[in-house]
Amino acid sequence: MIIRLLLHFLLLAGLSPLLIGVITRTKAIIAGRQGAPLWQPYRDLRRLFGKDMVLSSTTTWVFRAGPVVGIAVPLIAALLIPFGAVGAPLSFSGDLVLFVYLFGLARFFTVLAALDTGSSFEGMGAAREATFSCLAEPTLFVAFIVLARISGSFTLDTMFKTLLANNLQTVYGVSLVLTAICLFIILLAENSRIPFDDPNTHLELTMIHEVMVLDHSGPDFGLILYGAAMKLMVMGTLVVNFIMPPSTGDLFVDAAFYTAALLALAVGIGLVESGMARLRLLKVPQLLIGTSLLSFFALVLLLR
């Protein structure tokens, strides 16, 4: 139990910045550049944590709470889901609701922290984040309902662990593939990756997530980046779990498999980002609603 808990934390804390590094590196290589080294995100974090912090005099404790909640939430949410064949350390019936709303909580605090600065620019970003995540949430729920229906369990651990790889050949296969696609799109939307938001721009009126954290600096900003990386990894785990092989029995071999799959997913995200342009802001709701309809369709296929 303790070993599993430690393994979960170590994987999450150690691996998440590497994923960001892999995505950036993939994009650089596709674009014909050499790119930053893979461990650049770790260096960035160390640099940020070594800095001083400037706090605006108009802000209150809410502004400080945003980054803290932002990093605490992925840490807790990660405990609820299995990392490949490595089981979840914490699980109970109905934890899928907690999982979804934990991210809702993090979003709420990020938005509040952005509004707390009183900057209209950040308020705009907050409004966008709130709108788009509203549209993304139904998809996540419907996808979980599909999985719950197939596995007959409301525990994320059982939902993701027991069946997915085996069931691809059965009648559930189509619904599973559709659900996996939906979760991948939600992964891109929730982590403000390219079709929805460009993580590299910092001076555009179309950005969503980055605009909310403009006033954070130093260690607080480090916490935000680290939390975002962890969130990417947690959401990525949902997608990766669809293709994970059943447990080999050895905890560390399982963890190695999981790591490899996650890195492959990061390369995949990098490829998607290299191949697409960011959508016009008006089209984002359209794509998100289309995604929820897709997940809904997966559910209809399953229920008939």
């Binding site: 050949q169 059965t170 009648v171 559930y172 296969g173 189509v174 709701p285 359209q286 609603i289 289309g290 309809l293 897709l294 809904f296 369709f297 209809v300 296929l301 008939r304």
Partner: protein
């Protein structure tokens, strides 16, 4: 569920959503053509491979997959439209309506008194939802060319129904339907050309402005 016909039908339904949601005319035409081409493979998987089924598949493929998109692309080149499809109600409401009709098609399809081998297959829901998506295209789009695409989707839905009966349905009837479509596209092409020449736009709402 994972047999080739079912996968084809699934893609057809997904294409319905995609066509309803997309705003680009070129993408719309390509998707409708691809949908038709996919459907033309259906008789090959479904029935014993006789000359009849081969002819049906090849004929449908050439007409739906090659000739009609070529005609449509030619038409939009001639009337010089590159613009978007301009829905009468937005894309998102159209998509939602499409999802509702698809869900309805699934519910309704399961209640029909069908032959045992067709019960719980995807054929009836796919046919009904494609018909409904074609209807939605016809109702919600302003441009004449998008309405032609609606007709084509409509025909795709009828084709799915037709493949269920291909063994018993006379060959001439099937070919007749396809030829009708071809002629309809021709006529629509000419009509579009005329609308465009009279009003220098393809917006069908202009037609109601006609006075004596």
């Amino acid at each position: 569920m994972n047999t080739p016909p079912n996968l084809i039908l699934l893609f057809v339904i997904l294409f319905n959503f995609f066509i309803l949601g997309t705003s680009r005319l070129n993408t719309c035409i390509r998707s409708v053509a691809l949908q038709g081409a996919l459907l033309s493979l259906l008789p090959l998987f479904l029935h014993t491979l006789t000359f009849h089924t081969y002819l049906l598949a090849v004929g449908a493929f050439v007409l739906k997959g090659l000739l009609m998109p070529w005609l449509l692309f030619r038409a939009i080149r001639q009337v010089k439209i590159r613009r978007e499809v301009e829905p009468r109600i937005g894309y998102i409401p159209t998509l939602l309506l499409g999802a509702l009709t698809t869900a309805g098609a699934f519910i309704f399809g399961d209640r029909l008194p069908l032959l045992p081998e067709h019960l719980h297959s995807l054929f009836i829901p796919a046919a009904l939802s494609t018909l409904a998506a074609g209807f939605l295209m016809l109702i919600t789009r302003r441009k004449a060319i998008a309405q032609v695409l609606g007709y084509l989707m409509f025909e795709n839905g009828i084709f799915i129904f037709g493949t269920l009966l291909a063994e018993t349905m006379p060959f001439l009837v099937e070919m007749g339907v396809l030829l009708d479509m071809l002629v309809a596209i021709f006529v629509m092409g000419i009509v579009m050309h005329h609308i465009n020449r009279e009003f220098s736009t393809l917006n069908t709402e202009q037609l109601s402005l006609l006075r004596e």
